[in-house]
Amino acid sequence: MIESILFWIFAVLAVAGGIAVFVVDSMARATYALAVSFVAVGGIIVMLHLDYIGVITILMMIMEMAIMAVFMVMFMGMNPALMPMDMTHSTRRSAVLATLTFLVLAVAIIVIPWPDRTGSAAADLTRSLGEAIMGSKMLVMLTISPVLFATIVASLVLANPRGRYDRYGADLDRRDPDGRAHPEDPIGGGIGR
């Protein structure tokens, strides 16, 4: 009974929070609405006995919303909480597409004869996840780690305002008449400037 009530509260919060993201008229409120939606989804995931994944989702999303708020203030250059705005396009077509997507998914969910449950859950699910990661599923983590590292490198390269190609040219061969490496900097620096 309590489980059922909790599920419905989380479900309504998750979907209502998600809708509120694109209905409220300021970005700060949208960020909070998204955080509420994510925490509710994390709650449902914890109810599915995925304690570790659920807690990770909640912690990650709260931090992510905080970072998003910082980026919004940076990009918008104003107090986003005080500036109601409407920056949307093709709302009607998108609403039709989203509704159609939901209907197709909902019909599939109801019509599909889902198979019976097979196998049984381990006594300690978090421990079993750790053992899977460090044992039979280690290749998954070994694949994810270079992807995450590549993401760090790629995002730094993209976000860096003056990388070495900006300073030394496309072929990294910008030199002064003496043949020494000579970066094109707004303000020269280093020894002998």
Binding site: F22, I53, M68, H89, S94, L129, K137, V147, T151, L158
Partner: protein
């Protein structure tokens, strides 16, 4: 709480996220829509795992989805930063061409 109910919630999250990703002009808001969609996928994965086959291996798929969410956010912010620096705005409509 049944499999169908949780999957319906995740389908609703996915559809709302799709609407947001398609309609929003601000890059950060587009990312919010994509986040909602991935969150729906994560929820559906968790439900399918618990109600159909709760073996330890299945949980690793959810970790992969979480990692995808992280990568999406990091690259999204990096691209938003580049667009903002080169175009002076963070609207997706101002970055519809590939050439700088």
């Amino acid at each position: 709480m049944t499999l169908q109910l949780v999957l319906l919630v995740s389908a609703a999250l996915f559809s709302v996220g799709l609407y947001g990703a398609l309609t929003q002009q601000v890059v950060v808001m587009v990312m919010m829509g994509i986040e909602l969609m991935i969150n729906g996928v994560l929820l559906a994965g968790g439900a399918l795992w618990w109600f159909l086959s709760p073996t330890p291996d299945g949980q690793t798929v959810l970790l992969v989805i979480l990692a995808a969410m992280t990568v999406e956010m990091a690259m999204g912010f990096a691209v938003a930063t580049v667009v903002h620096r080169s175009r002076g705005s963070d609207l997706s409509d101002s970055a519809t061409d590939l050439a700088g």
